[in-house]
Amino acid sequence: MNKIQSIAKRDYLLLKGLEIGLVALGITLLILSINAILNPGIPLMAKIIPATVPVFEIVLAASGATCSTMIWRWYRIPPQIQTNLSTYFTELGYSTKKGLFHTLKVQISDDLHFKIKLQLHKRTSGESCIFKLESMQLPLVQKNPARFKQIAEQFFLNPNSNQQTFTTTCELEEIHLRSLLMTQALEQYLN
Protein backbone atom coordinates (compact mmCIF):
# COMPACT_ATOMS: atom_id res chain seq x y z
CA MET A 1 0.00 0.00 0.00
CA ASN A 2 2.92 2.36 0.77
CA LYS A 3 4.18 1.91 -2.76
CA ILE A 4 0.76 2.80 -4.19
CA GLN A 5 0.53 5.77 -1.87
CA SER A 6 3.87 7.07 -3.08
CA ILE A 7 2.79 6.55 -6.70
CA ALA A 8 -0.45 8.39 -6.01
CA LYS A 9 1.45 11.18 -4.29
CA ARG A 10 3.88 11.49 -7.19
CA ASP A 11 0.99 11.53 -9.68
CA TYR A 12 -0.79 14.16 -7.66
CA LEU A 13 2.28 16.40 -7.47
CA LEU A 14 3.00 15.97 -11.19
CA LEU A 15 -0.57 16.82 -12.13
CA LYS A 16 -0.58 19.86 -9.87
CA GLY A 17 2.75 20.96 -11.35
CA LEU A 18 1.43 20.56 -14.87
CA GLU A 19 -1.74 22.44 -14.01
CA ILE A 20 0.26 25.32 -12.52
CA GLY A 21 2.50 25.31 -15.59
CA LEU A 22 -0.51 25.42 -17.89
CA VAL A 23 -2.08 28.31 -16.00
CA ALA A 24 1.24 30.19 -16.06
CA LEU A 25 1.55 29.63 -19.82
CA GLY A 26 -2.04 30.76 -20.31
CA ILE A 27 -1.35 33.98 -18.43
CA THR A 28 1.82 34.57 -20.47
CA LEU A 29 -0.08 34.03 -23.72
CA LEU A 30 -2.82 36.38 -22.57
CA ILE A 31 -0.31 39.10 -21.68
CA LEU A 32 1.44 38.70 -25.02
CA SER A 33 -1.87 38.83 -26.90
CA ILE A 34 -3.05 41.91 -25.03
CA ASN A 35 0.32 43.51 -25.64
CA ALA A 36 0.13 42.69 -29.34
CA ILE A 37 -3.41 44.08 -29.65
CA LEU A 38 -3.02 47.22 -27.61
CA ASN A 39 0.66 47.78 -28.32
CA PRO A 40 1.06 49.88 -25.21
CA GLY A 41 4.71 50.31 -25.88
CA ILE A 42 6.08 49.04 -22.63
CA PRO A 43 9.85 49.26 -23.06
CA LEU A 44 10.39 45.69 -21.87
CA MET A 45 7.84 44.25 -24.30
CA ALA A 46 9.05 46.50 -27.09
CA LYS A 47 12.38 44.82 -26.77
CA ILE A 48 10.89 41.35 -26.85
CA ILE A 49 8.64 41.72 -29.90
CA PRO A 50 11.29 42.56 -32.51
CA ALA A 51 13.60 39.84 -31.20
CA THR A 52 14.17 36.81 -33.36
CA VAL A 53 13.27 34.36 -30.59
CA PRO A 54 10.04 32.59 -31.69
CA VAL A 55 8.21 33.20 -28.45
CA PHE A 56 4.78 32.18 -29.69
CA GLU A 57 6.02 28.96 -31.22
CA ILE A 58 7.89 28.03 -28.04
CA VAL A 59 4.91 28.87 -25.85
CA LEU A 60 2.51 26.96 -28.08
CA ALA A 61 4.80 23.94 -28.23
CA ALA A 62 5.24 23.99 -24.46
CA SER A 63 1.51 24.31 -23.82
CA GLY A 64 0.84 21.55 -26.35
CA ALA A 65 3.33 19.30 -24.60
CA THR A 66 1.81 20.15 -21.22
CA CYS A 67 -1.73 19.44 -22.41
CA SER A 68 -0.69 16.15 -24.00
CA THR A 69 1.08 15.09 -20.82
CA MET A 70 -1.93 16.01 -18.72
CA ILE A 71 -4.28 14.05 -20.97
CA TRP A 72 -1.91 11.11 -20.88
CA ARG A 73 -1.72 11.25 -17.08
CA TRP A 74 -5.51 11.35 -16.89
CA TYR A 75 -5.71 8.40 -19.20
CA ARG A 76 -3.11 6.05 -17.76
CA ILE A 77 -3.47 3.91 -14.67
CA PRO A 78 -0.22 3.39 -12.74
CA PRO A 79 1.26 0.22 -14.25
CA GLN A 80 1.52 -1.66 -10.94
CA ILE A 81 -2.17 -1.19 -10.24
CA GLN A 82 -3.21 -2.01 -13.79
CA THR A 83 -1.09 -5.17 -13.79
CA ASN A 84 -2.49 -6.20 -10.44
CA LEU A 85 -6.09 -5.69 -11.56
CA SER A 86 -5.64 -7.17 -15.04
CA THR A 87 -3.93 -10.29 -13.67
CA TYR A 88 -6.67 -10.85 -11.15
CA PHE A 89 -9.52 -10.36 -13.61
CA THR A 90 -7.82 -12.45 -16.29
CA GLU A 91 -7.48 -15.31 -13.79
CA LEU A 92 -11.21 -15.06 -13.18
CA GLY A 93 -11.88 -15.22 -16.92
CA TYR A 94 -12.94 -11.60 -17.24
CA SER A 95 -11.51 -9.23 -19.83
CA THR A 96 -10.49 -5.66 -19.09
CA LYS A 97 -10.52 -2.61 -21.30
CA LYS A 98 -8.93 0.71 -20.49
CA GLY A 99 -11.16 3.77 -20.63
CA LEU A 100 -10.56 7.48 -20.22
CA PHE A 101 -9.93 9.18 -16.89
CA HIS A 102 -8.47 6.28 -14.92
CA THR A 103 -11.33 3.98 -15.76
CA LEU A 104 -11.13 0.26 -16.35
CA LYS A 105 -14.05 -1.61 -17.89
CA VAL A 106 -14.34 -5.18 -16.64
CA GLN A 107 -16.23 -7.39 -19.04
CA ILE A 108 -17.64 -10.45 -17.27
CA SER A 109 -19.48 -11.75 -20.33
CA ASP A 110 -20.85 -10.28 -23.56
CA ASP A 111 -23.79 -8.65 -21.82
CA LEU A 112 -22.37 -8.15 -18.33
CA HIS A 113 -19.81 -5.60 -17.25
CA PHE A 114 -18.88 -3.07 -14.61
CA LYS A 115 -16.47 -0.15 -14.43
CA ILE A 116 -13.71 0.58 -11.97
CA LYS A 117 -12.71 4.19 -11.61
CA LEU A 118 -9.54 5.06 -9.75
CA GLN A 119 -9.47 8.17 -7.64
CA LEU A 120 -5.73 8.59 -7.47
CA HIS A 121 -5.17 12.07 -6.25
CA LYS A 122 -7.92 12.46 -3.76
CA ARG A 123 -5.38 12.75 -0.98
CA THR A 124 -1.64 13.00 -0.94
CA SER A 125 -1.26 10.79 2.10
CA GLY A 126 -3.21 8.06 3.79
CA GLU A 127 -5.77 6.24 1.69
CA SER A 128 -4.97 8.03 -1.51
CA CYS A 129 -5.90 5.29 -3.95
CA ILE A 130 -9.63 4.69 -3.89
CA PHE A 131 -11.57 2.57 -6.39
CA LYS A 132 -15.13 3.32 -7.37
CA LEU A 133 -17.02 0.35 -8.77
CA GLU A 134 -20.05 1.05 -10.90
CA SER A 135 -22.18 -1.62 -12.50
CA MET A 136 -23.60 -1.49 -15.99
CA GLN A 137 -26.99 0.14 -16.38
CA LEU A 138 -29.59 -2.36 -15.29
CA PRO A 139 -32.91 -2.73 -17.07
CA LEU A 140 -36.32 -2.53 -15.43
CA VAL A 141 -35.14 -1.08 -12.12
CA GLN A 142 -38.19 1.16 -11.85
CA LYS A 143 -40.52 -1.82 -12.31
CA ASN A 144 -39.18 -3.66 -9.30
CA PRO A 145 -37.28 -1.25 -7.04
CA ALA A 146 -37.71 -3.50 -3.98
CA ARG A 147 -35.74 -6.31 -5.61
CA PHE A 148 -33.09 -3.88 -6.78
CA LYS A 149 -32.71 -2.56 -3.23
CA GLN A 150 -32.74 -6.04 -1.71
CA ILE A 151 -29.88 -7.23 -3.91
CA ALA A 152 -27.90 -4.09 -3.12
CA GLU A 153 -28.39 -4.72 0.61
CA GLN A 154 -27.33 -8.32 0.25
CA PHE A 155 -23.95 -7.32 -1.19
CA PHE A 156 -23.39 -4.05 0.70
CA LEU A 157 -23.75 -2.04 -2.50
CA ASN A 158 -25.31 1.35 -3.02
CA PRO A 159 -28.40 1.17 -5.27
CA ASN A 160 -28.62 4.20 -7.51
CA SER A 161 -32.17 4.16 -8.86
CA ASN A 162 -31.76 7.21 -11.08
CA GLN A 163 -28.70 5.84 -12.84
CA GLN A 164 -30.02 2.26 -12.55
CA THR A 165 -26.67 1.06 -11.26
CA PHE A 166 -25.05 -0.47 -8.20
CA THR A 167 -22.05 1.44 -6.91
CA THR A 168 -19.52 1.01 -4.15
CA THR A 169 -16.19 2.53 -3.20
CA CYS A 170 -13.34 0.49 -1.82
CA GLU A 171 -9.62 0.28 -1.23
CA LEU A 172 -7.07 -1.82 -3.10
CA GLU A 173 -7.11 -4.63 -0.56
CA GLU A 174 -10.90 -4.91 -0.86
CA ILE A 175 -11.21 -4.70 -4.60
CA HIS A 176 -10.98 -8.43 -5.33
CA LEU A 177 -13.88 -9.46 -3.13
CA ARG A 178 -15.90 -6.33 -3.82
CA SER A 179 -15.59 -7.03 -7.56
CA LEU A 180 -16.78 -10.59 -7.04
CA LEU A 181 -19.75 -9.34 -5.04
CA MET A 182 -20.55 -6.84 -7.79
CA THR A 183 -20.52 -9.68 -10.32
CA GLN A 184 -22.76 -11.82 -8.14
CA ALA A 185 -25.17 -8.93 -7.63
CA LEU A 186 -25.39 -8.34 -11.40
CA GLU A 187 -25.91 -12.01 -12.14
CA GLN A 188 -28.53 -12.33 -9.42
CA TYR A 189 -30.40 -9.28 -10.66
CA LEU A 190 -30.44 -10.38 -14.27
CA ASN A 191 -31.42 -13.99 -13.56
Binding site: K122, R123, G126, E127, I130, Q150, A152, E153, Q154, F155, F156, L157, N158, T167, T168, T169, C170, E171, E173, E174, L177, R178, L180, L181
Partner: protein
Amino acid sequence: MSSLDSKEVYDLMVAFSSYTELKRKILLCLVHVYPRAVSGAQLSAMIGYSGQARTLYRGVLERLQADKVILLDKLTPKLYSIRINHNQRLMKLLVELSQAHGAQLKANYTSLLKRGEKNE
Protein backbone atom coordinates in the same frame (compact mmCIF):
# COMPACT_ATOMS: atom_id res chain seq x y z
CA MET B 1 -34.78 -13.09 17.99
CA SER B 2 -36.53 -14.29 14.87
CA SER B 3 -35.49 -17.66 13.52
CA LEU B 4 -32.22 -17.49 11.63
CA ASP B 5 -32.21 -17.71 7.90
CA SER B 6 -29.02 -19.53 6.93
CA LYS B 7 -28.98 -17.80 3.52
CA GLU B 8 -29.00 -14.41 5.22
CA VAL B 9 -26.23 -15.46 7.60
CA TYR B 10 -24.15 -16.60 4.64
CA ASP B 11 -24.82 -13.33 2.78
CA LEU B 12 -23.80 -11.42 5.88
CA MET B 13 -20.60 -13.42 6.25
CA VAL B 14 -19.58 -12.95 2.60
CA ALA B 15 -20.40 -9.25 2.45
CA PHE B 16 -18.76 -8.63 5.83
CA SER B 17 -15.56 -10.41 4.83
CA SER B 18 -15.21 -8.26 1.73
CA TYR B 19 -14.45 -5.27 3.93
CA THR B 20 -11.09 -4.28 5.38
CA GLU B 21 -10.22 -5.02 8.97
CA LEU B 22 -10.89 -1.41 9.99
CA LYS B 23 -14.37 -1.41 8.46
CA ARG B 24 -15.20 -4.74 10.11
CA LYS B 25 -14.06 -3.39 13.47
CA ILE B 26 -16.22 -0.29 13.05
CA LEU B 27 -19.31 -2.29 12.12
CA LEU B 28 -18.83 -4.82 14.91
CA CYS B 29 -18.45 -2.06 17.45
CA LEU B 30 -21.47 -0.08 16.25
CA VAL B 31 -23.61 -3.19 16.16
CA HIS B 32 -22.80 -3.96 19.80
CA VAL B 33 -23.48 -0.45 21.07
CA TYR B 34 -26.73 -0.19 19.07
CA PRO B 35 -29.06 1.77 19.46
CA ARG B 36 -26.54 4.23 20.79
CA ALA B 37 -24.82 6.70 18.46
CA VAL B 38 -21.18 7.54 19.11
CA SER B 39 -18.78 10.25 18.07
CA GLY B 40 -15.69 9.69 15.94
CA ALA B 41 -13.38 9.98 18.96
CA GLN B 42 -15.47 7.48 20.96
CA LEU B 43 -15.52 5.06 18.06
CA SER B 44 -11.74 5.36 17.62
CA ALA B 45 -11.21 4.64 21.31
CA MET B 46 -13.52 1.62 21.26
CA ILE B 47 -11.84 -0.02 18.29
CA GLY B 48 -8.38 0.62 19.69
CA TYR B 49 -7.22 3.52 17.56
CA SER B 50 -5.81 6.77 18.80
CA GLY B 51 -8.35 9.59 18.55
CA GLN B 52 -5.59 11.78 17.15
CA ALA B 53 -4.66 9.34 14.37
CA ARG B 54 -7.59 10.56 12.25
CA THR B 55 -7.82 7.10 10.72
CA LEU B 56 -11.61 7.30 10.67
CA TYR B 57 -11.67 10.66 8.94
CA ARG B 58 -9.93 9.50 5.79
CA GLY B 59 -13.12 8.62 4.02
CA VAL B 60 -13.77 5.26 5.70
CA LEU B 61 -16.96 6.39 7.38
CA GLU B 62 -18.20 8.10 4.22
CA ARG B 63 -17.65 4.91 2.25
CA LEU B 64 -19.55 2.85 4.80
CA GLN B 65 -22.34 5.41 4.69
CA ALA B 66 -22.38 5.21 0.88
CA ASP B 67 -22.86 1.45 1.18
CA LYS B 68 -25.77 2.25 3.51
CA VAL B 69 -24.46 0.18 6.43
CA ILE B 70 -23.99 3.09 8.83
CA LEU B 71 -25.76 6.38 9.43
CA LEU B 72 -23.55 9.41 9.68
CA ASP B 73 -24.94 12.70 10.99
CA LYS B 74 -22.74 15.76 10.97
CA LEU B 75 -23.72 17.62 14.13
CA THR B 76 -21.03 20.30 13.88
CA PRO B 77 -18.14 20.63 11.41
CA LYS B 78 -15.99 18.54 13.77
CA LEU B 79 -18.56 16.34 15.47
CA TYR B 80 -20.19 13.33 13.87
CA SER B 81 -22.89 11.11 15.25
CA ILE B 82 -22.25 7.58 14.02
CA ARG B 83 -24.61 4.64 14.35
CA ILE B 84 -25.42 1.42 12.61
CA ASN B 85 -28.09 1.49 9.92
CA HIS B 86 -30.60 -0.90 11.48
CA ASN B 87 -32.84 -0.55 8.44
CA GLN B 88 -30.30 -2.42 6.37
CA ARG B 89 -31.39 -6.06 6.29
CA LEU B 90 -28.01 -7.62 7.07
CA MET B 91 -27.11 -5.02 9.68
CA LYS B 92 -30.42 -5.71 11.37
CA LEU B 93 -29.53 -9.39 11.45
CA LEU B 94 -26.10 -8.56 12.89
CA VAL B 95 -27.72 -6.41 15.57
CA GLU B 96 -30.07 -9.26 16.46
CA LEU B 97 -27.17 -11.70 16.65
CA SER B 98 -25.14 -9.38 18.84
CA GLN B 99 -28.08 -8.75 21.15
CA ALA B 100 -28.65 -12.49 21.50
CA HIS B 101 -25.04 -13.59 21.93
CA GLY B 102 -22.82 -10.55 22.38
CA ALA B 103 -23.52 -9.45 25.93
CA GLN B 104 -19.87 -9.82 27.00
CA LEU B 105 -18.52 -7.85 24.06
CA LYS B 106 -21.19 -5.23 24.53
CA ALA B 107 -20.12 -4.85 28.18
CA ASN B 108 -16.51 -4.42 27.04
CA TYR B 109 -17.41 -1.78 24.49
CA THR B 110 -19.62 0.02 27.00
CA SER B 111 -16.85 0.08 29.60
CA LEU B 112 -14.43 1.48 26.99
CA LEU B 113 -17.02 4.09 26.12
CA LYS B 114 -17.49 5.08 29.77
CA ARG B 115 -13.73 5.21 30.33
CA GLY B 116 -13.42 7.53 27.34
CA GLU B 117 -16.21 9.74 28.62
CA LYS B 118 -14.49 10.03 32.02
CA ASN B 119 -11.23 11.04 30.38
CA GLU B 120 -12.94 13.78 28.34
